[in-house]
Subunit: 421 residues, 2 copies
Amino acid sequence: MTVFDRLFADSTLSQLQEKDARDPLAHKRQEFKLPQGVVYLDGNSLGALPLSVPARLAHVAGEQWGEQLIRSWMANGSTSVGAEAAQDWMNLPDRVAAKIAPLIGAHAHEVAVGDSTSVNIFKLLAAALHMAPPGRRVILTEADNFPTDLYMAQGLNALLGGRYELRTVPGDELEAHLTDEVALTLLTEVDYRTGRKLDLAGLTAAARRQGILTIWDLAHSAGAFPVDLNGAGADFAVGCGYKFLNGGPGAPSFLFVAARHQDSARAFLSGWMGHADPFEMAREFTPAPGARRYVVGTPAVLSLSALDAALDVFADVDLGQLRAKSLSLTDTFIELMTPLAARHPLTLVTPHNHDERGSQVSYQHPQAREVMQQLIERGILGDFRTPDILRFGFTPLYHSHADVWRAVQGIRGVLEEAGPA
Amino acid sequence: MTVFDRLFADSTLSQLQEKDARDPLAHKRQEFKLPQGVVYLDGNSLGALPLSVPARLAHVAGEQWGEQLIRSWMANGSTSVGAEAAQDWMNLPDRVAAKIAPLIGAHAHEVAVGDSTSVNIFKLLAAALHMAPPGRRVILTEADNFPTDLYMAQGLNALLGGRYELRTVPGDELEAHLTDEVALTLLTEVDYRTGRKLDLAGLTAAARRQGILTIWDLAHSAGAFPVDLNGAGADFAVGCGYKFLNGGPGAPSFLFVAARHQDSARAFLSGWMGHADPFEMAREFTPAPGARRYVVGTPAVLSLSALDAALDVFADVDLGQLRAKSLSLTDTFIELMTPLAARHPLTLVTPHNHDERGSQVSYQHPQAREVMQQLIERGILGDFRTPDILRFGFTPLYHSHADVWRAVQGIRGVLEEAGPA
């Protein structure tokens, strides 16, 4: 048997199934709906549906909205509702924030939930630029940062008269660009195309030594592996509710403001739901304590309730086990793909080094768009990302090593039928 | 029989029931869930649940998200879904905008849906201030405008270094303050406390004569009566999805940018979902055509789908009939309340003049908070608004004249038990 054939032998699958049998997170898969006949490798675009969500939505719509109506804004709207689906919509953003905080190494009062990631980036950029010394005019970011991060910075800078420079540099040159011109860094920890993970702690420490504020985008981090914002001394962060947090399409985003900045950072998007006493209906904005001031308008209760229910999946999860399994899954995928990569024009762009890897694996392929289309038709749901990236996301809460094997079998089928056998 | 007794005689109720029998909108009530034993007079805070919404939510969560997963972002994700609940989440904001446009006298491409009203106010303030002549530094608003409108203007002004003045004047002095210092007006058509309706067309025309841009907040207008933004020559507007549009708690808001401004107005909150080609993943923001550029981050699909389903209620509604019924309901309420107002310290603060009335009636009462608490306990759900306002909202889609009678009976019970009989 050649190496290639051995890879797809039953014995390989058996070994992987043995790993799955020892997986301490294996039981979490039962908490998700995963369609028949699909290997879903796009949880880093849209996390799968937690089974608790439809019932919660039905309850919030039918009972809280339909029966209790406006009484649901307050805690005592009804006594007939269990604690697991409490009303008190006023405090729903805070309850969700408290569930996200331990996933990112934050205190609950440092986290606010609501609005989109893009809008939250705008809030934090505005707050951080206002705090930075006036002479520092550079917003430092990666050339390959996710586009909305760049666009929001462009828009804010235009609003401020173009007084800042958005400096985009390659990821491996970031540290060299941490100079006294730089007001802040706006960096995404895990690159959405390559899956490369930056050294959040190291870059944060280097930035602080230069008096530079850090805004971390945790879109592909939160819920994928443990993040320790306070351990790293990070200043600000945002993240996504609908990727590894499984909150549903367009779920509310979260933001983090370190406790030490909460008196000096300003919520320029100051809406009534961030007021210290919204129903006082005062004419002047007085910020609520802590990160709550960054909640702006009326919370999107339906979407927020779905996220709230989805986060309960994490209640009994050991984040160290989550990370270990994620790395085991991506290691397995890279290993199984190696002989295919040797026979086809596949270039691994995800780092081998664990410290530099998120929870996805990506390859360049000259016909990436067509290859992904064929994979999707076979039920292997990954992502094409322009210009030539095949992206495969691994979600340790609901993937097994056997899923990885099935995915590679599907990729092999597409590539071998299209190319040399 | 005294006037007072006659008012509550069965004959009065019979006359009202005859009106209800002739009501061309009476059948719309069947499309809503209205709890037993409640007269719900707070649809101007949170519209009642349209019966189509829970099924839509179940479909979007269970099928579009749970089964189709990321494929639902595109139009051809599945062929098994009927047109009434199409996928194509990418275009969902535009489909919802097209349903709102005819309610406010706008073209579909002038409307964008997403984010909260507060965030949309910020977008429009930023766009309008950027367009205004540099010498004009006054943002003119009402002293009693809804607080979040004031707060968002305060926050934006602080972000811009305090270079503007937020000038708050009484509603009846607005026209006199339309001077060449004024960059824009930020006005809510219907006052959330008094229910007084401003002359949108007249004030817009007066503002335009002075070179002043107008931003209209239609929170208590859209879905309550016909609005004609283009007929009035309005520049910008925002509105609420969860009051008279019945989109659910915290439903996405809408904004309007007149077609003539779309090339010059800038979307400073420029997110990837407002890009002309989001999946090009370009490094520079290129705005999408029309108002779509004001869609910022990933749409909140669950909340947006609820709003989408809720708006179908309006598909067969004649807005002229809607307005006529609204005025008939509020006239009836004021008439039935007149003898109570003569015996108790109730002061009507809603205008008698139809042209100056929205779809609510409010009274001042020195114990307004306690009176409303007792009303709520009896199932008459109105609102207390600080400092002394009893607010009763009327929704012509689901209220009958008999409901008005029942509401006044309840109010009578609370007041007569507490005061002179």
